[in-house]
Every structure is written in structure tokens, then in C-alpha cells.
Amino acid sequence: MKRIEANHVSAWYGGFKAVDDVTLAIEPKQVTALIGPSGCGKSTFIRTLNRMHEVIPGARIEGEVLLDGEDIYASGIDPVSVRRTIGMVFQRPNPFPTMSIRDNVSAGLRLNGMRKKAELEPVVEKALQGAGLWKEVRDRLDKPGASLSGGQQQRLCIARAIAVEPQVLLMDEPCSALDPVSTLRIEDLIAELKDMYTIVIVTHNMQQAARVSDSTAFFTLEVSGDPGRLVEVGPTSKIFTKPGDERTEAYITGRFG
């Protein structure tokens, strides 16, 4: 169980500052939702938590991100091991097109050197069951991952992410491309996974944030072109009933954003 603390995190794309001075603690065994208007830096911020931000050419960050007290940006820290500990699910499903369903799920392990089929087999089944996909695909594990429906692909990506057994799961709008039924499936899944993982989820859906999260962080930006900032963070029930900032209230009641 890992606790994440972001201290004074700012992020840039080249000369453009996208996130300004965010300080936020993410508690273990909880779901933390990040909400806010489009372009306020939610995706940028969540990507700083597992060092995916620096993958983009010209992107850099300032500040520190502590994983159980250890700064993941300290020198000598290997970003590859950070990402192995902190998994990520993206907004759009992105299964590997050249791999079968089975190989997609086991990709993280296979490409990190675990080859034995006998060891991979149970992992694949467990991950697919964890992602609520096992019943639908157990007869066609050798079919391409891209042959699944959008919602199934997204659950395949979740299975792929949990197969490497990370400690933390970051989800950037995992349901934005999905229908209500698939969305509910994934929300149920998040509720189950929360016993084992620390989960951070970005969402544009207020009901979803209210349903799945234990605490909620509200980001905003004043004018477009300005960097995004954290307005407030607190228990979800409090943010949605008695927000401490009028901008939060305006946003969640739909008067803004």
C-alpha cells in the first residue's frame, strides 16, 4: 500500500507551464478523483505521478513526488521501476495491435523477462478476472486484442495494467469512450480494486466522481493560457455537499466549465 505525496509540483511543455505548484496527498486504499474543466492540467498532473510526463519531448517538471516518503524524481531513481510500481490506464483504449488478448495481458511481464508459459498462464487468468473480462474472452485468448469492443478493450488495458501487480493505479478518464453499461462495469471494478491498490482517477463525470471516489481534488485554470492550479481537495462527500471554494461549487453545480 503506497501513499503518494506531491509537493509543489509544476509541469511544463517546452516554455508553456501547464500545472502550477500543486501540493496533494493521495491516501492508500482509497480512490482519489481529479476533476476540473478541460485543459486545467489533470492529465498532465496525473502523468507526473509515474514519470510519464517526461516521455514527451521538451516536457519537464519541478517539485517532488514522494512515494512512501521516497522522491521518485531523485537522482538515481530509475523511471522504468517507478512505472512498474505505478501503473496507468489511458483515456483511449490502446491494446497492442500485433498481440493476441493473452499476449496483451502478459506483455508487461513477458517484456520484462518472464518467459515461462506455465507461470504466465495463471497471471493472465487472474488479471482478466480482476478486470471483469475473463468470462467474455476465455474462449478466444488467441484472437487479436483489437478484435474486442471498445469497452472490452479498455478492460483489457486495465487487465494489462494490473497483471504487473503495481501498487498504485492511475486512470486518466478510463470511461470517457465507453457506454453506460461498460462504464458501470469499470466503476464496479474500481470499487473492487481499491482494496488492493491506491487509485487515482481523472473524470469529467461528476456522478462518477461522487460514486467511486473517497476524496476529490478540484483543479481549475483562470484564463486559457494560464497554468492549471489545485483549488481544493477533501473527502468527496464534503466537496460535493459543502465545497470550501465558490469556484468548486460553481463547477460541480454546472454553472461553470
Binding site: 509515474n50 510519464m52 516521455v55 519531448p57 522504468v80 521501476s81 517507478v82 512505472r83 512498474r84 510500481t85 501503473g87 496507468m88 489511458f90 483511449r92 490502446n94 491494446p95 497492442f96 495491435p97 500485433t98 498481440m99 493476441s100 506483455a107 508487461g108 517484456l111 520484462n112 484472437k143 487479436p144 483489437a146 478484435s147 488495458c157 494489462r160 495494467a161 504487473v164
Partner: protein, 345 residues
């Protein structure tokens, strides 16, 4: 505009297939009569005038029943079909003519014998030694240029930023334009004479790989760039190191396109003759070792046989040319099959 304007704005007249055929036939008939009655003559002239008259009659009839837009549509359809026809005619006639002339000397004997001791007038001899030479030289050239070309392409698309990358890119672009004889001359001066290694199939392979390299680099680079960033990010997010992500995710995704580029390069160099004259030199007998001593190849075989004035030699040249086309075709089909097996979708 049409004379019988349709009542509904949604519906418009439609040219009956029968009237179209009749119009074209009328155009051709008028041309025939004109060539009969007037001093007009010549087969090519007749075809051209008949084509223009037939098209004009077709469009005129269409204009009577249809609106302006569909007539323009038909005009461009005619132009496109004509262009396709010209391309197919050019390609088809090369193939058909080569096949027709090539089958004469093409038999089992041709594939199993060399030109050792065969004079230009003799109705014997074959291209076995040249087929061996071509296969070995092209294989070696592929072995040299594909791995190095792929590495350069990976560097350019995944790592290359700044001065060095743009320098490499410029050099590769310039290499595309190197005339093949210059590549041959370079290996001749540097390897054959300079290092005193003499003529060999390997020298030919080096000259060919100079020609293949830029094609492989540029086409692979474009194909690798087409792989969506989201796939790379998916791999990184699983804690897969970058080099493994490139090797196991990016390259397999781009493999079909990369193969196409490689096959283009192979097809381009398989028919090269000029650089081989200065590197492989040519040889009449079977010589399996590509690393020392002059070697034949199919283009050299065709070249030397076609330079002869005797019928038997010219027949052999056509048979060699047909074999060359078949070799390229087989390699292309084989490469397609191999990449199709790798793809799941």
C-alpha cells in the same frame, strides 16, 4: 444543360447504357468514314482520332439527358480509365513481350547449366551461374543494408533530435540520388583496386547495399513514425524499458510497412547492371563463393547475351530477363507471406 429537364430537383435523367455504346460506335464509324474518304491515314492517327471522336460523341449524348455535374463526372471517368489503360498497357506489354520472347530458351536445361564453354552461336548454355550470383549478391546486400538501415531509421525516428539527426537525414536524402554507376565506381576504386580484393560477388553486394540503404532508411523511418505514440506510452506505463518497447511493440506494429520498403529496395537493386560490371564483373561458369573471384548475375547475363548478334544468345538474354522478373516477383510474394503470418488482424 439538359434539354429534357427533369421535373423533380432530386431526380435527374440517366444515360442508358445502350445510347452510350451507340454514341461511341457512331464516333468510331465517323472516323472510319473520314479516314476512307479524306487523305487522313495511319494506324496510330486512326486510334487517336477514333478515341477523341468516340469520347466526344459519348459526352455529347450524355449532355442531352444528364445535368452538367454528371457530364463532368463522366469526362473524368473517361480520363481516369484512359490513364489506367495507358499504365497497364505499358506494364503489360513489357511483361507479355518479355514472356513471349523469353519462353523460347527457357527450359530445365537453362536453369541447370552455366555458360561454361558455350559459344555465342551455340544453342545451349543456361543461367544457373547467374541465378546463383544474383541470389547471393542480393541476399548479402539485404543482410548488410536492412539491419543497418533499420538501426538508422530507429535512431532518426525515436532518438534523433538536433544537428546530428538532420545531418544524417540530409546524407540519406543525398544517397537516394546517387547514380548506381557511382556506387559501383566507389566500390571498384575502394575495395576492388584500393584494397586489392579483386572482383567478387561480395563487392557487388556492397555496391548494391549503398543503393538499398537510403530506401530502407527513409521508408522504415516513415513507417515507424506512423506507429501511434499511445502504443509507446502504453508500453512505458507497464514499466517496459524503451529499447524493449521499440523492439517488441513499435517494430512489430510497423513490420508490414517496413517489409514493403525493403522489398522496394530489393526490387530496385535486383535489376541493377552498371555497378555489377565494376564489382562482380561477370563470369561464365558456376562460382558459388561470393567472397572471392568474379561472379555472374542475371542482369550481367542479360547484358552480355543481348550484346551478341546471334539468335541463340539473344534468346538466352530474353530468357534471363524473364527469370529476373520472376525472381523479383517471388521475393516480393515471399516477403508478403512472411509479414502476413506475423500480423493478427
Amino acid at each position: 444543360m439538359s434539354t429534357r429537364a427533369p421535373a423533380s430537383t432530386l431526380r435527374s435523367g440517366r444515360l442508358a447504357a445502350r445510347s452510350a455504346v451507340a454514341a461511341v460506335a457512331a464516333g468510331v464509324a465517323v472516323t472510319t468514314v473520314a479516314f476512307w474518304l479524306t487523305p487522313l491515314q495511319g494506324r496510330a492517327d486512326f486510334l487517336l482520332v477514333a478515341y477523341l471522336a468516340g469520347t466526344a460523341a459519348y459526352l455529347a449524348v450524355a449532355a442531352r439527358t444528364e445535368g452538367r455535374r454528371s457530364v463532368v463526372d463522366r469526362l473524368f471517368a473517361v480520363l481516369m480509365v484512359t490513364a489506367v489503360g495507358i499504365c497497364l498497357l505499358a506494364l503489360g506489354s513489357v511483361l507479355v513481350y518479355t514472356a513471349a520472347r523469353g519462353v523460347k530458351a527457357l527450359d530445365w536445361y537453362f536453369f541447370t547449366h552455366s555458360m561454361n564453354g558455350v559459344g555465342p552461336r551455340d544453342d545451349a548454355g543456361g543461367a544457373y551461374h547467374s541465378i546463383i550470383g544474383t541470389l547471393e549478391q542480393v541476399l548479402l546486400a539485404t543482410l548488410i543494408s536492412v539491419p543497418s538501415g533499420l538501426l538508422v531509421a530507429i535512431y532518426l525516428s525515436e532518438y534523433g533530435r538536433g544537428r546530428l539527426a538532420s545531418l544524417v537525414r540530409t546524407v540519406v536524402d543525398v544517397m537516394v540520388g546517387i547514380p548506381s554507376i557511382v556506387a559501383g565506381l566507389f566500390i571498384y576504386a575502394f575495395w576492388v583496386l584500393g584494397l586489392g580484393r579483386g572482383f567478387s560477388g561480395f563487392a557487388a553486394a556492397m555496391a548494391l547495399s549503398i543503393l538499398m540503404l537510403p530506401i530502407v532508411v527513409r521508408s522504415s523511418e516513415e513507417m515507424i513514425k506512423l506507429v501511434p505514440a499511445s502504443l509507446r506510452e502504453a508500453a512505458y506505463a507497464l514499466g517496459i524499458p524503451r529499447w524493449r518497447a521499440i523492439l517488441k511493440v513499435v517494430l512489430p506494429t510497423a513490420s508490414a510497412g517496413i517489409t514493403t520498403g525493403v522489398m522496394l529496395a530489393v526490387a530496385r537493386v535486383t535489376g541493377e547492371t552498371a555497378p555489377l560490371l565494376l564489382t562482380a564483373f561477370g563470369f561464365d561458369s558456376i562460382h558459388n563463393d561470393p567472397f572471392s573471384g568474379p561472379q555472374s548475375s542475371l542482369p550481367l547475363f542479360v547484358f552480355s547475351q543481348a550484346s551478341s548478334a546471334f539468335g541463340a544468345a539473344v534468346d538466352r538474354a530474353w530468357a534471363g530477363a524473364l527469370t529476373l522478373i520472376a525472381v523479383v516477383l517471388l521475393l516480393t510474394v515471399a516477403a508478403r507471406l512472411v509479414t502476413r503470418r506475423n500480423r493478427l488482424v
